[in-house]
Every structure is written in C-alpha cells, then in structure tokens.
C-alpha cells in the first residue's frame, strides 16, 4: 500500500467517511451495461442457484434453479441466461467502423497496414464483486465445451442451443478481465475501491454493502457504523439485513430458509411424479408451482439488495468525470471484442482448457505491458494519483527557475537545453536518470544532470527550505532544426511535472509460433509424451 493510500485510509478512519483517492473515473462505464448478480449453491462449485440480470435497473430478470443439483434445470437456467446475454452482446457486433491495423503480409513477410472492421462499441458486463468475476469465468468454462444435439447427435447430455456459445463469450469476458485497465467485465467493489479509500481493510472492501456504507452512508450516520451494520446486523430470524453480494450466500440463509424451500420443492416434484390421475396431477402441479415460487422469492430477496447496491455504486462512479486515457483503453477492449467476434464467426473452436506455452507467455507479456501503461496513464490523467507517485519519489512537480540553451556535440548540433526545476518533492533520481513529461499528449524525455546549488552543482537545497533544484537536460521533441520549436522547451516560470517512469510501453519481442515451441518448453503442443497437466481432466470433471 502506498503512503498516500495509507494516509487516505487513516483520514477515513478519523472522519468516518471514505476518502477519494482519484479525482477522475479511471474505467470506462458503458451507457447501457448488463448487470449480472449471480448466486451459487453452497458445496457444489459451478452450480448456479439463480441470478438477477438485465440492463434496466428497474426491471431485472430473475432466473432461478429451484433444485440446483438437477442438471436439466441448470441447463434451463443457462439457456435463459443465454437468451438475455447473447442478444445483448450481438447488438454490438454489427455496428462497425473502419480502422487500420498492422499485419504481417503472409507472402512478403512485411508489416503492412490493412483496413479492418472495429466494433464501434462493445458490451459491458458488471458484477458486484471479484468473486462474481471468477464465477463468470467458471460458468464460461462449464459451458464452452458442451455439445448441442445439433453439433453431435450422439452426445449423452446435449446442451440447449446457444449455451456453448454463451460459454465462449463468458470465457472471453473472464479472460479479458485479467487485463489490467480493461472494462469489458468489471466488479463494482474493485471499481469503488479504486476510487475511494475506506477505513476498513482491503479484504473488508470486498463486501459491497460495507464498502458503499463507507462511501455514501445513509443519512448522517458515520461510515464505520453503517459498514458494521451492513456486514453483521441480523434480523429477529437471524438473517443478515444486508445479504452478501455473492455469489456465495450466507450459511444462515442456506440452512434456515433455502434448504427447507428446496426440500419442499423436491417433495412437491416427487408427489407430482407419483400422481395417479389427471386431477391429482393438477393439484400437485399447483403445489409444485407454489414451492418453486417460494425458492424464487428467496433468491430474489437475496439478489435484489445487491442489484440496487450495484446501481448505487455505478451512480457514484458516473458522477466522476472520465479520465483522459479511458477512451484509449476502451478502444483496446473494443479490439478484443471484435477479435473474439471474428473468431466465432470464422467457426474457430472454443478457447482451450489451458493455454499452451507460447500463448501463456504472450498473455503474461501483454498484461505486464498494460499494467505499466495503466499505472502511467492513471497518474497522467489524475493529479491525485500523480501526487501519490510524487510522494513515492517516482515523479516531481515544480516551477522552472532557469533555462540555459545548450547543444549536443557532433556534426549537426541539436538543442539540448538545460532546465532547472525548483521542487518540494524528493524524487529518487539516480545518475543520468531519464525523466519524462507530457507534451501535447506525447512524452518528452529529459536526463537528470544534477542538483543545482548557489555555486552551480551542489547538494540541491541551497536555501535550506526543503526546496530542491533539479537540473535536467531536455533530449527530444524539439523538432529537427537548430533552434527548438516554439513551446517545446519549458520556459522560466512554467509549472512542470516530470515522471521517472515511462509513459508508454514498447512492445516486446515476438515469440515463436506455438508449432515452434522449443525443446526447453516441451516442444510443440499436442506431443503425446508431454508433461502431464497438474490438474488432468478426469471422468468426474463435469465443469
């Protein structure tokens, strides 16, 4: 935890209200997100109990599996979910704009620009908490390898049509969510915790109810009191007043309310199956419907508060202006969405269970690049985030006190002006350290020359007032001429902010194709003598 976050948390504790740690919104929020509040069954991984889902905050669709261990009912739930999610996703696949992309020409091997379709907007899935993101991933994994009767007439338990396709999309959302800064699938707790610091631990921040209580407590109540109540308060029957955001449910709910309701449903179903004539069946069908309605009511009672909390969180986030680099990152999400759309259209198989060596390495490299880019962009977009970096010695801001023109040596001297910056910050500048500032959205590099004192190069604090004089040599973005282009060199009196981190990331080296995986990594995938997977697929694997 950075020093500034620690400070914000301490302030939150003493004031009883969450403190902002960002002045702008650092993630894209869609105009029309699809909110998904799932619940899962205790004791059986990947067995959904129900969900609220939809794009209209006033009219969520309730989906319930009255007997979660019944595979047919589970398939029915997934089919219903597919009927909501897939039309929502499809609505974004057709509106495209033309965009340029660099590709390797298969014939010449050269890098050439090609014009391709890019989806003009992309769908956005919102879940309450990080566990919800994992659940989306798990649902995706449980569905994408299922076969429908149409795909394989001999499959023993055919999945309803479109369920495997939903699995592929949820897998894509889940995988994209691992990309730092991406916004295709977001957890509200992560979003809120990114923008506010509370007086509770980061583990407690995973509880949507108590997190919101810190940020926007009801009435004049102190945030810590409200948070405590959201987390622990129970009614006369021992039920939590604020049900957990899921997908896991409260054990008291499971034992006292849900289990009896499901048992009643089971009994009603057995009774219906044992009915001996039509009249009896009609009666018992009525009892079954009532039992099912009881489970539905219970699921709705635990998801609806979370549903409303999610929208409450989104309202708070929408009140923040969007960060300047957010559209840029959303464009990357759109590329990702477009690429997956194209893979499905091209009839490619579903994503494999585990990545091969080359894919895994490529993903890791891409995520590391994105993480570094995200850290830089958030600081550039937000003075409060930059303040944290300055406090950590990774950036400094100050006033230009002197500019001396100087030139590089060599046949064609280029401008290399020396700029002195007076700053209160304490940047960790090493010998000839590179620093960067944003000049019209592009990074301009400079080199640390030394600390200035009264006698030229000194220890840096000539007046003993805590201000340090940093001398920098500006290195680029000054045009091609002998004289720097106007505005490209800071002037005396300018406020400037330099960072010790780079603003953009270079792409890494290209890895070999998977078919050329070297011997050190087990050779190309598909080798029968390959090292067995740590978690091999067995007959019991039903996910």
């Amino acid at each position: 935890m950075s020093l500034i976050t620690t400070l914000a948390r301490l302030e939150a504790v003493s004031s009883g209200r969450a403190r902002p740690v960002a002045t702008v919104r650092h993630r894209h929020l869609s105009e029309r997100p699809l909110v998904f509040v799932p619940l899962t069954t205790a004791g059986e991984a990947g067995a959904p109990l129900g969900a609220l889902v939809g794009t209209d905050r006033h009219a969520p669709r309730l989906l319930v599996v009255p007997q979660p261990r019944d595979r047919d009912l589970r398939f029915a739930f997934l089919a219903e979910l597919a009927d909501i999610v897939l039309p929502y996703v499809d609505a974004y696949t057709d509106t495209v704009e033309a965009a340029e992309r660099t590709e390797t020409d298969p014939e010449t091997g050269k890098r050439v620009k090609v014009v391709v379709d890019l989806c003009a907007d992309a769908p956005q899935l919102i879940v309450p908490s990080r566990a919800g993101v994992d659940f989306v991933r798990l649902l995706g994994r449980s569905m994408r390898f299922r076969r429908t009767a149409e795909q394989d007439p001999d499959t023993p338990h055919p999945a309803p049509p479109r369920v495997p396709l939903l699995g592929r999309w949820l897998t894509h959302f889940g995988e994209r969510a691992r990309m730092p800064g991406s916004s295709l699938l977001l957890a509200v707790t992560d979003l809120l915790a990114r923008h506010w610091a509370t007086g509770q631990s980061s583990v407690e921040d995973q509880h949507l109810g108590s997190l919101l209580a810190w940020i926007d407590p009801p009435g004049d109540e102190p945030g810590d009191v409200a948070a405590h109540r959201a987390e622990l308060a129970r009614d006369a029957d021992g039920q939590l007043l604020c049900p957990p955001a899921g997908p896991a449910t409260d054990p008291a709910f499971d034992n006292k309310l849900l289990a009896p309701a499901i048992e009643a449903y089971d009994r009603a179903r057995s009774a219906l199956a044992a009915a001996e004539d039509g009249l009896e069946a009609d009666d018992r069908f009525g009892a079954l419907t009532a039992a099912e309605q009881r489970v539905r009511d219970l699921v709705e009672s635990r998801t609806r508060p979370t549903w409303d909390a999610v929208w409450h969180g989104l309202d708070l986030l929408r009140a923040l202006p969007e960060g300047a680099h957010v559209p840029d990152r959303w464009t990357r999400d759109r590329w990702s969405f477009t690429a997956h759309r194209d893979r499905i259209t091209a009839g490619e198989p579903p994503q494999p269970r585990v990545d091969d060596a080359v894919t895994a390495a490529n993903k890791l490299a891409a995520r590391e690049r994105e993480q570094a880019r995200l850290d830089a962009q958030e600081a550039l977009d937000d003075p409060l985030v930059m303040a944290g970096r300055r406090l950590a010695g990774e950036a400094f801001a100050g006033e230009v006190t002197d500019v001396v023109m100087a030139y590089s040596e060599g046949r064609r001297p280029s401008p290399r002006p020396l700029v002195t910056v007076r700053t209160e910050d304490l940047p960790h500048l090493g010998e000839r350290a590179k620093v960067y500032r944003s000049l019209g959205g592009k990074p301009q590099a400079a080199e640390f020359v030394g600390h200035a004192g009264r006698d030229g190069i000194g220890t840096g604090d000539p007046d003993g007032d805590g201000n340090v004089l940093v001398v920098l040599r500006v290195l680029d973005k000054m045009g091609r001429g002998k004289e720097p282009e106007p505005g490209s060199v800071p002037e005396k009196g300018d406020r400037v902010c330099f960072t010790l981190f780079e603003h953009d990331q270079r792409g890494g080296a290209k890895l070999p194709d998977p078919e050329e995986t070297p011997w050190t990594h087990g050779g190309p995938p598909g080798d029968p003598e390959a090292v067995p997977l740590p978690d091999p697929l067995t007959e019991e694997d039903v996910l």
Binding site: P180, D355, A357, A361, Q371, L426, P518, W519, T520
Partner: protein
C-alpha cells in the same frame, strides 16, 4: 578465484576437506558434460560466490578453443559487460561480439578499449565470431539466423521461463548456470492462472527446463570463495539445507581490524562485534514505522560513516598486506527502492556519496568486504510474501567477504510468529524449502547471538 578451479589441485591431505580439490572436481565434471556430454542441456547450481562467473568464462573459452562458437545469454547489461571484460582479460586475442540495444549508452565504455570486441546492434554483424554475448531481452529480438550449436545461459534461475522461450530457438544445446537460492524472477501482474503448468511463464527458466527435461545432468559447485567461514554454515543451513556448501577459507584466514577504537556508541559496538564474529545485529527499539523508517535509515548511515572513519583494514587470502576498507568495498542492502533512496540521502548528509546502496534485486551477483543491511521486516506490522521471500534475505546475507551488519527493529521474531506463511497451495507447484518463515527464523536466531541493542 582461478586457483580454485585449477584441476591440478587434486590431492591434499587425506581425510581433510580440500576446498580447492572439491571445486576442481566439480568443475571438471561440468566441463566434461558440457564439451563431451550427449544431453542438450547441463544445469549448474552455484551458491553465492562459488565461482559461477569464473566457470562461465572458462566454459566459454574451452568451447571456443574447441572450435565451437557459442552465444552467451545474461540477464542485465551490467552482467553482459562484466562477462565481456572477463573474457577479454583471459584471452585478449579472442574475437568476442557484444550485441547491444539501440538505446543511448547501451554498453560499458570500457569495452571500446578492447580491440577484439566487436559491438553491434545486429546479430548478423557479429556472425562468425567465437563468442557473442548479450542480454536475454536483446537476444529475443534476434530472428532468422542460423542457430548456434552452443549457448551458455548465465543467472538462469533469475531468468523467467518466458524469456527462455523467446531465445531457446537460437541454440541447440546449452549450459545453464545460476544460484537457486537467490531471488526468483517476478511478474508485476498475477500469474496464478498458469501456476503448476510445466511451462508457467512466470516461473524460472530452470524450473521449466527441468520439468520438460528431467534427465539433464545437474551439477553443483560445492565451495563458496566469497563467504567467510563465519557465514557459509549459516547461509548453507538456512537457504540450501539439502545442497550444503562450504567456505573456501577457514576461521582465521580473514580478519577485519580498525585503527580507531570504538567510541562506545551502538554503531561502533556493532562494528566491533561484526569484525570479530562476522555478523552483527544493531537492534533498535520495537516500533511500527513507515518503510523508510527515519531512525533505522539514520542508523544504517551512521554505521557506514563509522566504518569509513575508523580506518578499517581487511586481511584475507587474496593478499599478504591488509587492504584498506574503502567506500568501494562497502555496500548497503535494502528490500525496497525507496528505502535505498532514503539511505542514499542520509549518507549524502553525512558526506558519504560513493558507497553502493541498492535493493536485493540489484545486489545479486555482487561482492563486498562489508555489507550493511536494513532488515526487510524491520518495523513492519505484517510479514508479506514479498518480505518473507527467502531469496531476498539470502541475497542480503551473502554479499560479504568479511562481515555483515544488520540493522533491525526489535520484535521481528514475534512478527514472524504472528504471520506464518499462508500462501495458497497450487496443484503441480513444487513447494520450495526452506520457506521464508523458517529461513528468517534461522538467520535471526544466529544474528541474536551478536546483538547490540541501541536506542539512538
């Protein structure tokens, strides 16, 4: 160090451990497997200061002499430049290539003075040279060249699996050399998704290599020439419990003495303790502090200042005469970069500017006479996986030839007891022993025998 690798040092007195002979036998076996073995890879585990660089240089020279050109993969530009300088020192006529990036100032200027070292940003310009050296990151960009028959991968335990994946196509067979006890490579994003896979891209290159090629011969260098007799048993027991090593020198072979007597202050007392015993613990009162604990930082700076002021001299097997303990022979090690920066500032305030202050990551592979360490857990309210990592403590506790002084707040062993390791167990991941918790306790137990309590 070269005498240690002398193959003629066989023999010695029967029944007595002869470090030179033991190291010589290990080196012979490694070179035999490298030059004449049938396996595609050879792995060498080298504890701190066991002559790893010497081995790399010797293996490279022998391969080149046998008419087998090779590429060398190191991890940082500093390591690459160091290797090139060492190669040139051993054989000034050997044509060596230094492949470098196109950044400004890409290599050590000292290389410009070496007539047989050719430098280029393109591998094609260096084709045909006996030895071409570069970083893994630069090698990864080399495409479309005839693969080398041989490679040496240096610091292979600090290389990430994905970095090896990017360069492994460039060679047919390779010698992998590294220290398994030092810091594992890390990634700035989560990689649990691939945990347990044999090719987990965030694992070390050697882990992946051995998972896919378990039959490769594995060797071990048995003698640390850097660590003194006071340090080798502790480092070996705490960090290499199943692959012990010995120090190359005995008790009494190395001595550290100061001309200026102690003034009785904490820093002076801990310096005397460390000069005598090889270890010293300067313990400040227990307190929860920010990472850049001002008192601890000042204490570190004061210890360094006094080390310089007291006219130290080091006696060792390297020379007949005592060697003055100068700023270049002292280093300060910390866990975090901001701590290093604070120590640098504090030292500058005391007029010391030429003592190396760096994090464990950057001190890897370096060697000093005396090190001053700010304990990674000092003043912390919690013990995270980062601070418990065995490699971090191992690096900090194994850079010295004479003495290591640790500055720490009281209460670390209580902190350790309050925070047992709670890392989730992942299927297929080999559990590493010792864990950081146990290693930290082992080091603390030893340090507490040389404790100087001090209230600044």
């Amino acid at each position: 160090m070269t005498t240690a690798l002398d193959p003629h040092a066989e023999g010695g007195v029967p029944g007595v451990f002869d470090p030179g002979a033991a190291a010589g036998r290990a080196t012979e076996a490694i070179l035999r497997d490298t030059l004449h073995g049938t396996h595609r890879g050879v792995v060498v585990d080298s504890p701190p200061g066991a002559g790893k660089s010497t081995l790399v240089v010797r293996a490279a020279l022998e391969l080149a002499a046998a008419g087998r050109p090779l590429m060398i993969v190191a991890q940082t530009n500093a390591q690459v430049d160091d290797l090139v300088l060492r190669l040139a020192e051993k054989d000034a006529d050997l044509p060596v290539g230094r492949l470098h990036s196109s950044d400004s100032d890409p290599y050590d200027k000292a290389l410009d003075g070496l007539p047989n070292v050719r430098k280029s940003t393109k591998a094609a310009d260096l084709a045909g040279l006996d030895i071409v050296v570069s970083t893994a990151a630069k090698w990864a960009h080399v495409k479309g060249v005839e693969p080398w028959r041989h490679a040496i991968v240096d610091e292979a335990y600090q290389m990430r699996s994905d970095a090896l994946l990017a360069v492994a196509g460039l060679f047919e067979r390779a010698l992998f050399v590294g220290d398994p006890g030092q810091l594992d490579p890390f990634s700035i994003v989560g990689s649990e998704q691939w945990a347990g896979l044999s090719y987990d891209p965030s694992a070390s290159a050697v882990t992946t290599l051995l998972a896919h090629n378990p039959e490769l011969p594995q060797h071990r260098l048995p003698v640390s020439w850097r660590l003194p007799a006071s340090a080798a048993p502790l480092v070996s027991d705490a960090f290499y419990p199943y692959t012990p090593f010995r120090s190359g020198t005995g008790h009494g072979d190395r001595r550290l003495a100061f001309t200026v007597p102690s003034d009785g202050s904490g820093p002076d007392r801990v310096i005397d303790e460390a000069a005598e015993a090889g270890w010293g613990l300067l313990e400040l009162p227990a307190r929860h502090t920010p990472r850049t604990d001002p008192e601890a930082v000042r204490a570190v700076a004061q210890v360094v200042r006094r080390l310089l002021d007291r006219g130290g001299a080091a006696v060792s097997e390297r020379s007949e005469e005592p060697v003055p303990l100068t700023a270049g022979r002292i280093a300060v090690g910390t866990a975090h970069r901001d701590q290093a920066a604070s120590v640098r500032t504090a030292l500058a305030g005391l007029g010391v500017t030429d003592v190396v202050v760096d994090t464990a990551n950057r001190l890897q592979g370096r060697e000093y006479d005396v090190t001053v360490v700010l304990h990674p857990l000092s003043g912390r309210p919690d013990a995270t996986a980062f601070h418990l990592e065995t490699g971090r403590l191992c690096v900090l506790a194994s850079r010295h030839r004479h003495a290591c002084i640790v500055v720490c707040r009281e209460g670390v062993s209580q902190l350790l007891d309050d925070h047992p390791s709670t890392e989730p167990v992942q299927l297929g991941v080999t559990v590493k022993f010792p864990d950081g918790w146990e290693a930290n306790h082992a080091v603390l137990a030893r340090l507490s025998e040389h404790r100087v309590a001090w209230r600044p």
